[in-house]
């Protein structure tokens, strides 16, 4: 089991790409510490790199040795660490993080206000209800079986009544407690004017219990307490599974957010800089954005000049110059100058405002799509209630009297009570989510699966989706390996994001001693009397060389290197394709999907990528409106579109598409709009999601048909008055088990895509390095 959890490992591997250039000792983290009522301080951290039992012991003992720490406890399943300090001691969170780094684990604190999660409370409530229902069904069944046996042998009437009253004593309070999720759901639905699946469940349980009490009071042979509590037990299993999946997804997403460090350096009125969670910033605050960092918030540049990569915002890869008064958006990557940014609320007329307006309209349209479960409910509820009403009428007309007529009508309600239907879809969703999770895909909602199944067109964004989010040295560029190594070691001293394309290639991971970075220009170092420079063409006197290289690589930027008096060399750096982008696009086309690319980037850059991938159908220089218009046009043609994108400019398109997918590096708004988020550098998840979606839908349909078939046999039986409690118990548990087992089949399907072989430990930059040197 140790180290076997692929998704967590991808998460770890991913998070470490985001290591900012910020030095830890410069950070003031007191905003992440919460003071408990007894005066002690407490903080929670997301920890990456925890693999096995030894890690746990090392972390807890290592931190226990720090002064002032009262306790440090690692939650292994959640990869979260809770640290508390002794009362009266100042909480030195920086020391804790440094200690963890010394031990070899990355860690970032959580926003303390995120700690109380509604998901966790809901899960606990459901588990408690499940425990009560489980206890009740066991004990009631024990008594019920005795009565069934007694009815065909020599049980006295007094004993039978006593056993029935005992069942009532257990079942009534248990159902009142364990049935609450359904009762509340039914009432909420009715208030909103809808009949949800909770309604027939609540009605069935209440009717059964009332009838059973009446039967018991009149000394009848049969009571149906066992049926009512068993129904609740099975349905609660479905709910607990569903909630567990939601919570796991959310927990991982939160860890990821913390490790991506959603914090900002706030500058107070005295000029002091303090790290605070992004959620704590208010409009009007000043934030410092250092070179190499991403903008944490939207705002206006107050001081400083720099260049920024806005590709996460607009899809445009060419750097944009920024000066005081310019508007910046969260997610833009600051290049070479420090900026002071004043936080603004989303003002009307801005880019973000426009994106949000488009998005809310698209989400509104999508919310009107009925998922399989609601369609089944719509069909099922009136049918069941009609069947019960018909039974009642039929028996009355046949002259059977009120008692027999009501008894049989309630029997119809119990037997149709959607045990199988209630499990048919959630069980499949849970199994599919587990399968996707194993491959590093986090599903946002279960009903997305059936939408993935309907897809026939895949629309890709270019920047950050088909290409990797960080720049790389252009493929096929041949140069002296010694020079490249020198350039790479120089790049280690730079915070410029473009330098990271080179620094990944460094064989020796130590920067040159005495290397200095001049902001906006480059890095300079003197080794053995030889001056070496890495930076902009002007800084290296390499304008001519740069022009020549740019003519060959139209979609690249250049970074130049000069050693001593030798001629300067210009290195083309661009956003490389994801390692398996070509294969994935080809495979999608082979499988009969129409593949389209919609990008906000300039025409020449998009054309180059489209040619390499073999995508004939592409458009460039699109605004968010254009993108959403294209998606809607495809929808009007009857196409079911899967949108894969990461930028803020893709967010409306993600919301408008039939289904959507985002890489984990996507802008927050986009991730929130996407149906699933995938980790890692591979593009394979696009195919995985489509394949799993199709199989999940097939199994859901099988389950629904099975539930329908079950009702076709069971309803006439109940309506005819042949339903004894024994048959009801067998039918209900039998059908639930069949649907659940069918759902589990999804995990053992032979056609399941294999987990990707590229282990998270082998991150692509290191793998790519030898190949380039050989060239």
């Amino acid at each position: 089991m140790c180290c076997g959890d692929n998704a967590l490992a991808y998460l770890d591997a991913h998070a470490s790409w985001h290591d900012g250039a910020k030095r830890l000792s410069e950070r003031d983290l007191s905003g992440f510490v919460r003071v408990q009522p007894d005066g002690s301080a407490r903080a929670e951290l997301a920890v990456e790199g925890v693999r096995c039992a030894a890690c746990m012991a090392a972390i807890e003992r290592g931190l226990g040795a720090l002064p002032g720490i009262a306790s440090a406890r690692l939650n292994f399943s959640e990869r979260r660490l809770a640290v508390s300090w002794m009362p009266g001691r100042t909480a030195d969170l920086v020391a804790v993080i440094e200690k963890l780094e010394g031990l070899g684990y990355g860690a970032q604190p959580f926003d303390p206000r995120r700690a109380d999660e509604p998901e966790k409370a809901e899960l606990r409530r459901l588990v408690r209800a499940l425990a009560v229902a489980g206890f009740a069904s066991m004990n009631v069944m024990l008594l019920a079986v005795s009565v069934w046996a007694g009815n065909v042998s020599d049980m006295t009437a007094e004993n039978r009544d006593f056993f029935h009253w005992m069942q009532a004593l257990v079942a009534l309070p248990a159902a009142a407690y364990a049935g609450q999720p359904f009762f509340q759901g039914a009432i909420r639905g009715l208030k909103a004017g809808r009949v949800t699946m909770d309604f027939p469940i609540a009605l069935g349980v209440v009717a059964t219990l009332v009838m059973s009490v009446f039967e018991t009071a009149t000394g009848a042979h049969h009571a149906y307490f066992d049926g009512a509590v068993m129904l609740l037990f099975f349905l609660l299993i479905g709910r607990v599974l569903d909630q567990t999946m939601r919570r796991k997804t959310r927990m991982l997403a939160e860890n990821l957010a913390a490790l991506r460090r959603d914090s900002a350096a706030r500058v107070d009125e005295n000029g002091r800089v303090q790290d605070v969670p992004v959620g704590e910033l208010a409009a009007g605050d000043l934030v410092l954005v250092r070179p190499g960092e991403r903008m944490p918030v939207d705002g206006l540049v107050e001081r400083g000049t720099s260049q920024a990569d806005m590709s996460l915002v607009t899809g445009e890869t060419a750097p944009v110059a920024l000066a005081a008064g310019d508007r910046v958006y969260a997610g833009a990557l600051n290049f070479d100058g420090a900026l002071t940014v004043r936080v603004t609320a989303a003002a009307s007329g801005t880019f973000l405002d426009e994106v949000e307006a488009l998005m809310s309209r698209a989400l509104d349209i999508r919310s009107r799509i009925l998922d399989l479960a609601s369609r089944a409910t719509r069909l099922y509820v009136p049918l069941v209630h009609a069947a019960a009403a018909l039974t009642l009428l039929g028996w009355l007309l046949a002259g059977a009297g009120w008692h027999a007529a009501i008894l049989n009508a309630v029997a119809v309600l119990i037997i149709t009570c959607p045990c199988a239907l209630g499990l048919a879809i959630p069980a499949v969703q849970v199994a599919a989510a587990g399968l996707l999770f194993r491959d590093g895909i986090l599903l946002a909602s279960g009903d997305a699966l059936e939408r993935f199944a309907a897809i026939d067109t895949v629309v890709f964004d270019k920047t950050g989706t088909l290409t990797l989010p960080e720049p790389r040295l252009a493929e096929g560029f041949a140069t002296d390996p010694g020079l490249l190594e020198t350039a790479a070691r120089l790049a280690l001293s730079s915070r410029h994001p473009m330098a990271s394309a080179l620094s990944q290639l460094a064989g020796e991971r130590t920067p040159f001693a005495g290397a200095k970075e001049a902001a906006g220009l480059g890095v300079r170092a003197v080794v053995d009397g030889v001056e070496m420079r890495l930076g902009s063409p002007d800084f290296c006197g390499a304008r001519a060389a740069a022009q020549a290289v740019l003519a060959w690589y139209p979609d690249a930027s250049v970074i130049c290197v000069r050693i001593g008096d030798g001629g300067p060399v210009a290195l083309p750096v661009h956003q490389a394709l994801r390692p398996d982008a070509i294969e994935t696009v080809a495979a999608l086309k082979r499988d009969g999907y129409r593949v389209t690319m919609l990008s906000g980037d300039r025409r020449s850059a998009v054309a180059a990528v489209a040619a390499r991938l073999g995508i004939e159908d592409w458009s460039a220089e699109l605004s968010p409106q254009d993108k959403i218009a294209r998606i809607e046009a495809l929808g009007r043609e009857g196409r079911r579109v899967l949108m894969v994108g990461d930028g803020l400019n893709d967010a409306p398109a993600l919301a408008a598409a039939h289904a959507s997918l985002s890489p984990v590096t996507a802008a927050h708004v986009s991730q929130a709009a996407a149906d699933a988020v995938f980790l890692g550098r591979s593009l394979e998840p696009v195919r995985t999601v489509l394949a799993v979606g199709r199989r999940a839908r097939r199994i859901m349909m099988q389950n629904l048909w099975f539930a329908a078939l079950y009702n076709v046999f069971a309803v006439p039986l109940a309506a005819a008055g042949f339903l004894t409690p024994l048959i009801a118990a067998l039918a209900m548990s039998g059908s639930s088990v069949v649907v659940s087992l069918n759902a589990v089949r999804l995990r053992f399907d032979r056609s399941a895509p294999r987990p990707r072989p590229d282990a998270p430990a082998g991150r692509a930059p290191q793998q790519a390095a030898p190949a380039l040197r050989a060239a």
Partner: protein, 45 residues
């Protein structure tokens, strides 16, 4: 069979004790870190 009047409630009561024990365990966080617990049991400290 008068003894049933005592035996059945006692049996149900025992089941109830088990339920309370589970709810207590849930409340006191015994199920919060199931993966960690399987390793912690092996630590000697």
């Amino acid at each position: 069979m008068d003894v049933l009047v005592f035996m059945i409630p006692i049996a149900t009561g025992l089941g109830l004790v088990g339920l309370c024990a589970f709810l207590w365990a849930l409340r006191s966080g015994q199920y919060d870190d199931i993966e960690g617990a399987e390793y912690r049991v092996l630590q000697d400290d």
